[in-house]
């Protein structure tokens, strides 16, 4: 077993696994204890968070962009190491695992892009409606009107492009031809 390719493989998997674990905690509601908002004027907020609310929290509180960026770099490196000389070469079982990892990373990226689009274009949930209801401002506060809450298409583009990069890496890792030149030699 070659230590270098497997090390690269584990390092590539780490950020995606960490992000998925955090996402699962958000979706399961494990962190709901932190959701109790006690600000003035919000005492009447009592709607339970819907799945869409949890997905919205997930998109901006789980740092999926940087997890995918790190994993994408790892996937491209793994694909390139298929043609690398001996100590770095990704071959044998490592190649299959790397291909599966790159494919999974790509699917996670595409799923994240879809979630971002759904969250930003879906109608308001009951909780969001309660939160955005007009309130009496506290005396002395400056009330600002939020016109836009973000740039949803570019937010979706980042995970989509990174996921696509990982899928291309997976394709290079699964392609049948190619390795003969790398395996020859002493």
């Amino acid at each position: 077993m070659r230590i270098l390719p497997w090390t690269l493989l584990v390092a590539t998997a780490a950020p995606v696994v960490a992000a998925l674990v955090a996402a699962a905690r958000v979706l399961r509601g494990d962190l709901d204890v932190l959701n109790t908002y006690t600000g003035p004027g919000y005492e009447d907020v009592d709607a339970a968070p819907a799945l869409l609310d949890r997905l919205a929290w997930l998109t901006y509180s789980v740092g999926h962009e940087w997890a995918l960026a790190a994993a994408g770099l790892g996937c491209v490196s793994l694909a390139a190491c298929r043609w690398a000389p001996r100590p770095w070469q990704v071959a044998g079982p490592a190649r299959g695992v790397a291909a599966a990892l790159a494919g999974a990373t790509g699917l996670v990226g595409l799923a994240a892009a879809v979630v971002v689009l759904v969250v930003t274009h879906a109608p308001l949930t009951p909780l969001q409606t309660q939160l955005s209801a007009p309130r009496e401002p506290e005396p002395g506060t400056v009330v600002a009107t939020v016109v836009s809450l973000g740039t949803p298409f570019s937010d979706a583009a980042v995970p989509a492009v990174l996921g696509g990069t990982a899928l291309v890496a997976a394709w290079f890792l699964t392609r049948r031809e190619a390795t003969p030149h790398a395996v020859t030699g002493p």
Binding site: P15, W66, W83, A178
Partner: protein
């Protein structure tokens, strides 16, 4: 592809390949197993590309350090507020972690390091000075990533993080922050191993 063609022109020996794929040719050229083993082709130089990769790897680290130094050296002598105490090292570390873009800088740096390491692994001739400087940059990335991971762990639940409070907040961010930092650390170590590894004689 561009590098390959340029390398051929520089070395003046485009006939050493065997007409296979581009990636196959680089490997075939460097270990000499496809062409005649008795006369291995000269290893092609990649000084220009390696220099660019080194600058790309070092610049984010330098800028990140330039951003961090004021956070740790600020004396707050001009602050005159009742009950104000100068923040200690832990507070400064939490502030540095939450207000400075570690992951983008370190990831960009690792991207440059990966290009440099790929040139060395692929058997290109990279000057020793560039390889040593790349190793220094890689070790700096490791050190910064470790500091960031420690700071993230120390600053967990410190109240920094997303503002409104009606979300899982910073508690979720720890795992995805530490994940990329862990990956960056291992990537940087691997590039240092590649840069300092034995150059394969051709």
């Amino acid at each position: 592809m561009w590098v390959r063609i340029r390398g051929w022109r520089a070395s003046g020996s485009p006939e050493d390949g065997t007409g296979e794929t581009a990636l196959g040719k680089i490997v075939a050229g460097h270990d000499g197993s496809v062409s005649d083993p008795s006369t291995p082709p000269p290893r092609r130089s990649a000084t220009l590309l390696a220099t660019g990769a080194l600058v790309g790897a070092a610049l984010p680290v330098v800028l990140l350090v330039a951003d961090l130094v004021p956070i740790f050296t600020e004396t707050y002598e001009d602050v005159d507020l009742p009950g104000f105490t100068t923040p200690g090292r832990t507070e400064r570390l939490a502030q540095a972690v939450t207000t400075t873009a570690w992951s983008p800088a370190l990831l960009t740096s690792v991207l440059g390091l990966a290009v440099l390491a790929a040139l060395v692994v692929a058997g290109r001739r990279v000057p020793l000075a560039l390889r040593l400087l790349g190793a220094v940059a890689g070790l700096a990335v490791v050190a910064l990533a470790v500091v960031a991971a420690v700071g993230t762990a120390a600053g967990a639940g410190s109240g920094f993080g997303t503002g409104l409070g009606l979300d899982p907040s910073s508690a979720v961010q720890d795992a995805p922050t530490v994940g990329p930092l862990l990956a960056v650390t291992v990537f940087a170590v691997l590039t240092v191993v590649a840069l300092l590894g034995r150059t394969r004689a051709s």
